[in-house]
């Protein structure tokens, strides 16, 4: 009995140290965002709650035009995530519930191949393509090229293959049309997968960096990640307190999406694991 208690104590000790180490940077970022600029640059560095919180957040908001950044990032993240979900469900449905139509395998391969073509592999021509389409510096460039998703198609296809065949058979006897089956039977069943994919994709798009850096220029379509980079001057002393305030604001949306949907996220993936 005593041995178990001691090992429990060590376990807790280890976990507390690990968790503090991992959570500390976030706490630190927040504390820096409350200091004034002189306190940031005093030695030894201070770990305390400063008095300049409101000023820093106000300055971060105004100098980065944060309202616009949040709007842009939120818009492209939601549109891209939804676009991916709709297109993935349609494709997965076609692959799972229709017979061996001509070219099925090759079409499946075409979608799978997206895995092998991350942005850096095609960045120059894709940029030129945006230029030719007059899409540079627009929402189109930030959303449309990302609508297709091999991960999404695989996720839903995997899930549809685990649904009992009797479901379709029974529906077919009732004379159901494919779109009706998709809409009123499959969609409600796919809820936790939809939520899981939405969460992952929302955070993915929100945190995208290279592509917005390359294709956007004006403030009209600038996203949070790039707005924050622009707060860091290359030649002067950065105001880390203001930068951290902007960073904290900029991480709240993905954090909220993540924490509210976390349960479904875990369920969505746990389901995948079953088969």
């Amino acid at each position: 009995m005593k041995k178990i208690k001691v090992s429990r104590l060590f376990l807790h000790l280890f976990l507390i140290i690990s968790v503090s180490l991992i959570a500390f940077p976030i706490v630190y970022a927040f504390l820096v965002s409350t200091l004034d600029v002189n306190q940031v640059y005093t030695s030894p560095p201070q770990l305390r709650f400063g008095s300049n919180l409101i000023n820093n957040y106000r300055e971060a908001w105004v100098s980065s035009n944060m309202g616009r950044l949040l709007l842009n990032s939120g818009f492209i993240s939601i549109v891209t995530a939804l676009g991916k979900i709709v297109l993935s469900i349609c494709a997965a449905f076609a692959f799972t519930y229709f017979g061996n139509f001509k070219g099925k395998n090759i079409l499946f391969l075409i979608i799978l191949i997206t895995h092998m073509l991350p942005l850096p592999i095609r960045i120059v021509p894709t940029y030129q393509l945006m230029d030719n389409l007059n899409w540079l510096d627009s929402y189109y460039a930030l959303t449309v090229p990302f609508f297709a998703s091999a991960t999404g198609v695989l996720l839903f296809r995997q899930f549809y293959m685990t649904i009992p065949h009797s479901l379709l058979e029974a529906s077919l006897i009732d004379g159901i049309t494919p779109m009706r089956f998709l809409w009123s039977i499959l969609l409600p069943l796919s809820k936790s997968n939809i939520v899981a994919l939405f969460t992952i994709e929302f955070i993915w798009v929100w945190n995208q960096y290279l592509w917005p850096l390359v294709v956007t220029n004006s403030e009209r379509v600038r996203v949070v990640q790039i707005g924050l980079k622009m707060l860091i001057p290359s030649d002067a002393q950065p105001e880390w307190n203001v930068i951290m305030a902007a960073l904290i604001i900029g991480v709240i949306p993905p954090l909220v999406v993540y924490l509210t949907l976390q349960k479904s996220l875990v369920e969505g993936f746990a389901l995948q694991q079953d088969k």
């Binding site: 376990l11 807790h12 280890f14 690990s18 968790v19 991992i22 940077p25 976030i26 630190y28 970022a29 940031v40 030695s43 030894p44 560095p45 770990l47 993935s88 494709a91 076609a94 519930y97 229709f98 017979g99 099925k104 079409l107 979608i111 191949i113 997206t114 092998m116 073509l117 991350p118 850096p120 592999i121 095609r122 960045i123 120059v124 021509p125 449309v144 090229p145 609508f147 297709a148 379709l168 077919l172 494919p178 779109m179 945190n207 995208q208 960096y209 290279l210 990640q225 924050l228 980079k229 951290m244 991480v251 993905p254 954090l255 993540y258 996220l265 875990v266 993936f269 746990a270 694991q273």
Partner: protein
């Protein structure tokens, strides 16, 4: 054999697939082929004309010390980061997968880094370890006498890169491991315990084989993400320096493509990256079914 909709609906299958296929071909396959095409050309100094140069871009890359430096550093950096983030998150996931007090609090605090981008993670760690303002670098120096200065020292900047991206991946891996561990049946572990298996044996003989599919999946995903997304950290913090210590391949590609406007030279780098990604993907498909245990 699963029942399907009748053949008369086949047109609908094509219709449902067409948006995905059109997007993949237009924005992924066609530009990738054009990368290959462009890699055989060199732009004139004013960028108004393209000259066919055959394999010259590749020859120059593969004999360039700068490029080998980038490639080597990227691979070493990726390997270390993936190893740290996967093993540490697995350890934490296994330890919090117990019925102990406060486990929910531990879990909910460990997943937060996932919401931060690589760039954000870079900024936070950059400040924490900053030679002038960072509290961590200050106490490291105070306690050990070692000066961690990523602004001047290449190896410090390289270590900072590893820390910042391991931290970001940790949250991501932790969620997947937690989900996977939920599927390991407790009765299996209990019966092993009755047979006298100690925690290490239980882990290596039961838990680890059962979660190996997800571990393998994470290994591939981590490798690709770390390899490509660390760009954000480099661009906000180190800009490839000091002394090219953090000049990873994606950053070099970006500089050549969009700052020096050497599109052919940059495209050749894209093709080299494709060869690496293709290698990883083929490895994935080849071994996913064989070396990995499924439930």
């Amino acid at each position: 054999m699963q029942s399907k909709f009748s053949k008369k609906y086949n047109f609908l299958a094509y219709l449902l697939l067409s948006p995905s296929i059109i997007i993949v071909i237009t924005f992924l396959i066609y530009p990738s082929l054009e990368s290959l095409y462009l890699s055989f050309f060199r732009s004139t100094p004013f960028g108004n004309r393209q000259i066919f140069v055959g394999l010259e871009n590749f020859a120059r890359l593969l004999t360039s010390e700068t490029y080998w430096n980038s490639l080597g550093r990227s691979l070493i950096f990726t390997a270390i980061t993936v190893f740290i983030s996967i093993s540490f998150s697995l350890l934490l996931a296994v330890l919090t997968n117990k019925n102990i007090r406060g486990v929910k609090i531990y879990k909910s605090l460990l997943i937060w880094p996932f919401a931060f981008s690589f760039a954000f993670s870079g900024i936070i760690w950059g400040v924490l370890m900053h030679p002038n303002v960072g509290i961590m670098s200050y106490y490291i120096q105070l306690l050990t006498g070692f000066e961690f200065n990523w602004v001047n020292s290449g190896s410090a900047a390289f270590i900072l890169l590893i820390i910042a991206s391991s931290w970001r991946m940790l949250g991501y891996n932790f969620i997947f491991f937690i989900a996977a561990l939920q599927n390991v049946s407790p009765s299996l572990l209990e019966s092993a315990e009755i047979d006298g298996a100690n925690p290490f044996i239980k882990f290596w003989k039961i838990t680890f084989p059962l979660i190996s599919p997800i571990t393998f999946f994470l290994l591939i995903m981590n490798t690709l993400q770390v390899f490509f997304l660390t760009f954000g950290i480099v661009d906000v913090l180190t800009k490839g320096g000091p002394a090219r210590a953090t000049d990873i391949v994606t950053y070099k590609l970006f500089r050549d493509a969009f700052l020096s406007m050497r599109t052919g030279y940059a495209s050749a780098q894209s093709i080299i990256l494709f060869v690496i990604v293709a290698g990883i993907t083929i490895f994935q498909f080849k071994y996913a079914g064989k070396k990995v245990f499924y439930q």
